[in-house]
Each structure stands twice: as structure tokens, then as C-alpha cells.
Symmetry: C2
């Protein structure tokens, strides 16, 4: 030290106004020369804060994950926080650590708060989270009961737009929804919006018009293939629950000589990279992933820093991006 006590050093670093001008300068010089850095563990021990946020995501597909993490990381850093990841923590086969007494797949004691993305309809996850008693922001599910922040994207809005767009050029009985398994929050919402929109047009959808499978290329392919053996999809309009399914459908259709949008009109969901890599480009519902991430960080940080406030529930709009796979000719 440069002739001063550790208390003064601490003050210089945290409350420079409490200490005399020239002392401040002397200490700062010493700090610089010695390359001194305060020990974060000691700080945390005292403050019970680590400025670390845990992020627990289900096994979502690559792009979504990457985009979400990038945006979250960026926003967290702006606010002086860091991100601790826990990819696929909900999976049963994920190894458990000592510190993970909760089964949430996490070093709970290390983080100031948690961001959890939920895609499945399951109470157990939510209960586990509530039991943690730690500031939490939930992405993707807006009725978690507990006192947590929620950030969702408007599946209904996007799916309505997509369905209405398809209905503009295709009769309701020739419209199809190809979803993932029942119980998936996103797929279910999108299916419901599809159904409701058809009903609003006075058409009760046939069970045949709504199919459940998985969020995969293969499922899309299989669905389209089996359809085409039966009654040929020519003239149909298909709303796929995500882009992978859409691509599967697109490929199967092309292989059978159907051209988009002339013979089949197609809309996906997520507006992922693949949509613009295929020809024709695929229409899709855009989910504002970066906003989702930064809203989640903002909400969580707000909650961490003032826990008394009531949790906020944010819903982000989605928007249909119309591309050649579904564009009506008279409009093109």
C-alpha cells in the first residue's frame, strides 16, 4: 500500500467522494501500478451478490439457442452481469452436480437470478423453480402461477396472420396445419390460432387438416409424402409449426413435381436462416429473439435489484414475413 489503510482503498474504489482528492489520486496510482483487482469472491461473500445470471434452456434448435444467448449475453454485459449457462438442464440424462440440490440442473447458490425457457406443458418444472425462491424470469410460458417475470412471444398473433394470409388465396377446407406433439406450448398455441381463424371464417376444420408430429424435417417430409399418396396436395396451403417442418414439406412437394406457390402455398414459423437459403424462399412468422432475450434480462435484473416490485408479464409481437413460398400471384 501507499501509506494508507485498506478501508480507504475500499472507499476510493466504491465511494470516491468520501475521500480527499489527493488521497484518491495517490491510491488510484498505486492501484494501477500494482495491477490490483478486488477479489470478487470476498465481495460476493459480503454482498450476497455475484452479478451472475443463470440461463436454463431446453434443447431448442441451434439458431434459436445461439441468437438468444448472444442477445442475452450482450444485454447482461451492458448491465454488468454475466451469464452462466445450463443447456438442456431439464433433460433427465443431464448429469447432476453437488451444488445442484434442487434438481434444476444448476449451481443455484452461484447466481443472483435465473432465466428459464419452457416449451412443454409441465407443472413439475414450474414447481421446482418456485421452490428455489430465487428471482426468476420465465420465457415462453405466461401462466406460471408463481411470482416470476414472464416474457412470451405472441404465437396466436403470428399464427392468425399466417392462417389469414393463406385463407386469402385458398379455401379453408384446403388449409392444413402441421404441428409438433401435443403438449408443446408453441405448437399448441399455433394449432389453436389456426383452428380459431378457420372457425371465424365459418369453417370447422376436419381432424384431417391438423396433424401432430415433431419439430423435425423428417416429420414434415413424412407428412407431405403420405398426403400426396392419398389425395395430392395440389392447391393446398400449409402452415407448418416451425421452419424445419416446412422445409421437409417443401422438399417432399418439389420431389413430386409440385411448385410453390403455384401448386402448394407454405408458411413456416421462426423465420430462421433456412427460410432465405431455399428457393423459393419460405414465408415464416418472425419471432423477435433478441428482444425476447434482452427483455428477459431486463426483467430479471429489475427483479434482482428491487424484489418488492410486482412481476411484469411481457408479450412480444410476432410478424408474418411473406416470401415466395406463399405469395399470391396477383400480388407479386
Amino acid at each position: 500500500m501507499s501509506g494508507v489503510s485498506i478501508a480507504t482503498v475500499s472507499r476510493v474504489l466504491n465511494n470516491p467522494d468520501l475521500v480527499a482528492r489527493n488521497t484518491t489520486e495517490r491510491v488510484q496510482r498505486a492501484v494501477r501500478e500494482l495491477g490490483y483487482r478486488p477479489n470478487l469472491f470476498a465481495k460476493s461473500l459480503l454482498s450476497k451478490r455475484s452479478r451472475v445470471i443463470g440461463v436454463s434452456l431446453p434443447d431448442i434448435h441451434g439458431e434459436f439457442y445461439a441468437e438468444l444467448m448472444h442477445a442475452a449475453d450482450r444485454r447482461a454485459r451492458e448491465l454488468g452481469y454475466h451469464l452462466l449457462v445450463s443447456a438442456g438442464a431439464h433433460q433427465e440424462d443431464a448429469p447432476r452436480t453437488d451444488n445442484d440440490s434442487t434438481g434444476a440442473g444448476f449451481a443455484i447458490d452461484l447466481v443472483d437470478g435465473l432465466i428459464v425457457m419452457l416449451t412443454e406443458q409441465s407443472r413439475s418444472d414450474l414447481e421446482a423453480i418456485a421452490r428455489l425462491n430465487i428471482p426468476t424470469a420465465v420465457i415462453g410460458c405466461d401462466r406460471p402461477g408463481a411470482r416470476v417475470e414472464t416474457i412470451t412471444y405472441d404465437n396466436i398473433l403470428g399464427a392468425e396472420q399466417a392462417t389469414e394470409h393463406l385463407l386469402e388465396g385458398t379455401p379453408p377446407e384446403r388449409c392444413y396445419f402441421v404441428g409438433a406433439h401435443k403438449g408443446n406450448l408453441d405448437s399448441d398455441d399455433r394449432a389453436r390460432a389456426f383452428t380459431d381463424t378457420l372457425r371465424a371464417r365459418g369453417h370447422e376444420p376436419d381432424t384431417d387438416q391438423i396433424a401432430y408430429g415433431e419439430f423435425t424435417f423428417e416429420w414434415g417430409w413424412d407428412w407431405a409424402s403420405s398426403r400426396m399418396d392419398a389425395d395430392a396436395l395440389a392447391g393446398a396451403a400449409v402452415f407448418a409449426a416451425n421452419d424445419e417442418i416446412a422445409v421437409g414439406i417443401a422438399n417432399a412437394a418439389r420431389e413430386r413435381g409440385l411448385e410453390m406457390p403455384r401448386d402448394i402455398r407454405l408458411v413456416g414459423f421462426d423465420d430462421s436462416r433456412i427460410c432465405t437459403l431455399l428457393r423459393p424462399e419460405i414465408s415464416s412468422v418472425r419471432v423477435p429473439i433478441p428482444d425476447l432475450a434482452s427483455e428477459a434480462i431486463d426483467a430479471l435484473v429489475r427483479r434482482i435489484e428491487s424484489p418488492e416490485r410486482d412481476p411484469k408479464h411481457t408479450r412480444l409481437a410476432t410478424s408474418l414475413v411473406i416470401r415466395d413460398s406463399s405469395r399470391l400471384k396477383e400480388r407479386a
Copy 2:
């Protein structure tokens, strides 16, 4: 407490053999009933260990990032570590935090070690890392000078395989390499292997046969488009430095009526999801991303836990996956 001192409690938790059988049980029962969990910050303060690993990745594309993080997280968790992310920390515009005195974009003092992926030829990154004086594993660059672990994938091997595969059915003067910008470690290695393989066949590649751009769909598209205006690519074989470029080329080619593999043969790099989503499926060089991640974690943890050992330098093999975009007809 249940009639015992804190020292004994600590021993029960860490060295159960030092304490009497029935005391152990009594304490464990109390621990369970009280839901006691040792404070990690206090532990870290004493041990100077956090069991947290920092991961700093450049702005690589979605799938690569996601796959790497998933595998790294899984392996880290198995070893009792957690991952702190720092996506795009090398970027100039990334906000800086207080704790980031080093400019490495990181709360260095929080982590036991660092995994850094480098894709660009730049000494400054390396020097910054070396100055940190913290256990480090570098992914993607095998000559970092400093005492760090390195984990690379064999760009040369994969690129040689790809080039030789193309040379099997196409004369050397009709083979092209479409790379990213010079200075990118991956692209440069792949370009060199391409050149060397052609030379080994006695053909000195024309400057025209090697192009530099970016790792993007658009660059691939532009390259193919400009080529086709000039001398028509029919009969050519193209090795793209990554899959995005390859897709751009594939689309431009199809738009002009060229069919793969009949008129053009194409091989990409990374073996990403997109390769099997397009028709025809695109040949590509597979990079063992999960292995890359877990090797990096293993190496880093080894180094953290026994720093005296000499750093290991691991190189993982890549392998060409032949699909319809480049398959020779007589072999199909």
C-alpha cells in the same frame, strides 16, 4: 446446530472419515432438515477456486455455437464445473464491464480457466490471453506460443479428402475453391490444402481457381453468378470453405439450370444441418464439434487441477461425408 461445532459440520461435509460415525449421522440429519447449503462464495474465497470455466467464442454461426456449448456444458457438468459465456467478446463494440480489466471481455477473476476459440490470424488476442496468466485452452489455433492447451480440428486432412474426391471425377483445371477472407485460419488452411493437393497432381492452380470472400450465402451466390456469366461452370467441381457458401453456390447453379452432381459437383465444410435439408443433399467435411468441446474442457480442467503439467496439443480428425451433390455416377 444440533449440539456440535461448525468445524465438525465442515468435516462431515468434506472429510466424513475424520468424524465419529454417529456424529456424522446426527449432523447429516440436521443438514437435511435445515436445508443447509454451504456458501459457495465463502468456499471460493478460501480455495481461490470457483469451479467455473469461462468460454469466449467469436461470432460463429448459430449451429456451431450451439453444438459446441451444449457439448462443453455437458462435459463441464460431468466434471463438476459450470460455464460462464462470453459470446463475441473479441468484438470491438462489445460493452465492457468493471471486472474486465484485461479487455478480454470477461470477468476473469470469477473463472478458474478460460476456453477461447480463435478464428482470425491476430497476435493481439493471443497476447491478451497470455497476459491473463490463467489456465487456458485455445480452440482452432495450434501455434499460440504461450503455455496453453490447444485443440484443433484437422482442416488440412478434411480439405485434402474433399479435393481428392473432386479430383477423382474432375480434371484439376476445372476445380475451384471458394473461401472466406484471407486471414481466417480455417479458410486459409483449407485453401492451402486445396492448392497443395492440386500441385501434388502436377497442376499449379490458376489464381482464378481460388476466390476469397466471406462465410456467407450471398458470397457463394455472387461467386457462382459471376462465374456463370463468364464461362459457364458446367463440368466444374467446387469446394466451398463452408456450407453457407456452398448453399449459395448450389442455389445460383440451380437457378441457371445446372444440376448437381451432373453439371456441377459441390462439397462444403462443417457438415451442418443444412446439408441434409437441401436436395440434392450436399457433401461436406464433418467437424467433430462435440469432441472438440469435450476435449477442450478435459484439457482445461486437467490444467486447472495440475498446472505443472506440460500443455497438450490435440488435433481432431475431420472426415468427408459424400452426398449426392458430388457423388460420381458410376459409384452411386
